[in-house]
């Protein structure tokens, strides 16, 4: 069926045979892609802006085209312009895991294409979400007050950014209900200079004055964790000036360095000043499936909300972000709507048995993400997911030791999870930049950088679904070779 152009008058968009034929072809295309992905340059080979725009027509086709032609265009025009996030030698940013189970779960979500915005609009989809977020919370050792089974609850959103906007809105409206809307000008949000930029963006989106976003400095002394004492001082200064401390963000596994904020101490400060504490464990939360990493989340029982992204390092294809809250009514009070056209069927009680998830997020419509995460948990099990995490931590440990053993390099901050931050010592930033460029231009690995205390740092984030020890060893070989080259040029100058 896929081989024929479609005649407009005969379109049957969900004809089961045509659907199956086309879909099997795409599966085979993707299986071939995974087979070959380590042969592509990891970072897009073609970085000429506008290349693809020039290749494509300026208008959509008038008549339908065969799937084969579309797939051939993907192969010829699109793949060379992609950075291959699923390459086993992708070490940039943070990993964005795909997996057979995540893909199967997403296919079910996309194929069934139901919209669980109201419990009544697809009861089993809404209920599966309540089950799966509880499963996840228990797997990561979260305090029960964040789970439905303990009086809190969770939701699956698309990103941490979305979770941040929702929790900031909830915290803001909880405060404004008491203080009146004018007080929005006096609300203050606290984070560290290592906190993800999304918190600043989120605070701005929800109307907090940009001048009321406090960026508290960190240093090597605390491993770039946010010092609770500094937060206390800032909060007291603001309160004395008539401002209203609102929201504090603690990060477990920062984006730049993988640093960990002291959740418990920050939680105590938040409690004392009636601030909302959010714990952002977007990347490192996945590691808590292993008991040896749970300590970093100690103190989460003081949090109003916790989020982590199974779509990073938990074998769940993009997108999937778990958000847990201790008091769901704070969220729903800020995000509920009740228009007539949604009052249609069934009754909802607001208990875990019948959640209207539209009131737990920004958007009305939503995807059936729960089935994706559920398939991942069923297929790999807790034991499989622990093995997945430990494989990468072991490889990152090996890499950290290798770097430390090479006199030319230094590890910039101790590794906590699977992110190693390092640099060539005793040379200026330009040489480190040159080293990173040389590595990435080789096409054999892709890493990104960070700057801390004025120093340019290379980040190796291990975590790809296909990444094995050998790929990390190859990356180290590549780095050593390129280091020889750039240092030779440097000392000759």
């Amino acid at each position: 069926m896929g081989s024929l152009p479609l005649d407009a008058s005969s379109i049957r968009p969900l004809d089961p045979e045509a659907f199956a034929g086309n879909s099997h072809d795409v599966v085979d295309f993707l299986a071939e892609y995974y087979r070959d992905v380590d042969k592509y340059p990891v970072r897009a080979a073609d970085l000429e802006p506008g290349r693809l725009r020039k290749l494509l027509p300026e208008v959509a086709p008038e008549h339908g085209e065969p799937l084969e032609e579309v797939l051939e265009d993907v192969r010829r025009d699109i793949l060379p312009g992609l950075t291959h996030w699923q390459s086993p030698s992708f070490f940039a940013y943070f990993p964005m895991n795909a997996s057979a189970a995540g893909f199967a779960g997403e296919m079910l979500s996309v194929g069934l294409n139901v919209v669980p915005f109201l419990w009544a609009a697809s009861p089993a989809a809404a209920e599966l979400e309540t089950v799966v977020v509880d499963w996840m919370g228990k797997l990561l050792g979260l305090p029960s007050r964040l789970l439905f089974s303990g009086g809190g609850g969770g939701v699956l959103q698309g990103s941490t950014c979305e979770a941040v906007v929702c929790t900031l809105t909830a915290a803001r409206d909880r405060a404004l209900a008491r203080l009146g809307h004018e007080a929005i000008l006096r609300l203050v949000v606290y984070a560290s200079d290592q906190t993800h930029a999304t918190f600043q963006k989120g605070a701005r989106i929800v109307g907090i004055p940009p001048s009321n976003f406090r960026v508290i400095p960190t240093s090597a002394d605390t491993g770039y964790g946010l010092p609770a004492g500094a937060v206390r001082e800032a909060v007291e200064r603001d309160a004395a000036a008539g401002l209203v401390p609102l929201y504090l963000c603690a990060t477990v596994g920062t984006t730049g360095l993988g640093a960990v904020d002291p959740v418990r101490e920050l939680g105590e400060v938040a409690r004392r000043y009636s601030m909302w504490l959010h714990v952002d464990a977007a990347y490192a939360g996945s590691a808590a499936v292993c008991p040896e990493f749970r300590g970093y989340l100690g103190g989460a029982e003081l949090a109003d909300s916790v989020s982590m992204n199974p779509h990073k390092w938990f074998l769940t294809n993009n997108d999937c972000c778990c958000l847990w809250v201790a008091t769901p009514r704070d969220l729903t009070a800020a995000l509920s709507t009740d228009p007539e056209y949604l009052r249609n069927v069934g009754t909802t009680t607001g208990t875990p048995a019948a959640i209207d998830y539209k009131d737990w997020q920004i958007s009305l419509s939503r995807r059936f993400r729960a089935i994706k995460l559920w398939v991942v948990l069923r297929r790999y099990g807790a034991a499989g997911l622990r093995a997945h995490i430990r494989r990468h931590v072991t490889a990152a440990k090996w890499f950290e030791r290798a770097v430390a053993a090479d006199q030319r390099f230094e590890v910039v901050v101790p590794r906590r999870f699977s992110l190693v931050c390092f640099r060539l010592r005793a040379v200026n930033d330009d040489v480190n930049r040159e080293l990173l460029s040389a590595v990435n231009e080789s096409g054999r690995a892709f890493m990104t950088h960070f700057v801390v205390d004025g120093k340019f740092v290379i980040r190796l984030a291990v975590g790809g679904a296909m990444t094995e020890m050998q790929h990390v060893m190859d990356a180290w070989d590549l780095l050593q070779g390129k280091a020889d080259e750039v240092l030779q040029r440097y000392y000759q100058l």
Copy 2:
């Protein structure tokens, strides 16, 4: 491979053979589902809250389980608890189209699993998005100032709600840059009593005082369109009171009734008072692929932004929302971030050739939605998509005439697209409610309701990917039969 439980130590989550085997099984599962979907009760048969929670274990499994078991559980425990949005007899809310092409495109997006948040993080993915939003804009006859090719530009988001939050933030920050942040307390947003609730929610999220959201009444006289004169009066009243008119929403195809606001007249009011005009064509925008429906978007050249959802009635599986803006810098000024860890590779010029889409949306991470919409446009072509729209409009016309010809019924508001709003005349609301319940409880069709001018109205929204004339005729038979029953009971009392 799918038949074996997974051993933790041997997990290879993207092994190509295992991936292909599992994925082919899921394709076959879904093809069977589409083959049988008209045999399921359309609305979930089981509406007992908590049923699924009770069936499932309280914790995730320790060891991986075979895919067959997972799929069997979907069949046995989950499908009976779903409302079947892909059933050809689903006429509730608005359609949420799936299609073979939408599914194929989503598989490519999910399988490649790249993250085009920066142009440089996957150039071809970002560029394809700029191409596809231009294609879509041209197909719908949008003014060129909203397209990249005309100095504006577009982005693919997940929902109208997201688009609303982004455009409200852009409009707000454009105003506050001039007036100072304190002016947030004086900003006013205008909509009609038919505007989607998401605008009120969005205005609240971005910090507009809830008391500054104006809901302007509509009436049958204007077909429930928002009268520009009433907006002008409200705006002048607010301006005289020292408030700042900020944002006006015009809807083409409202959720309740499919009403159309006079875009051009509203645009002129918006221009005169320097307000941001957003045109929400979430549902009916798809119809503009047919020239005979383009007139409703006349005046869009006065809009600051326009949005529509291909995931409703345009054969694109959930989620996909097109947002076009006339001045991208308003959007990016409000939503940009530039942390060090994203300054890594390549350079971006901000031209269509190299867009960093993270600055066009709430979230940093994002999916490769462009490839999904591109596959839909390639596979069906403009001609196929017009045929798809016209098939449903024809069926809705037939239904409207059938209702009008039955003395017991009345059409409440003239049909514009594929939504028909009707009721039993000369009886009270309870009888209409009873009729709707009887229809939905039969399992043979699913419709939802609305209330206008105090009257309970039944909505029949035609647009499912599998919905043919025969299904609409069957729904009318069903309605007539159930009307006999409820009217008989009513007149016997």
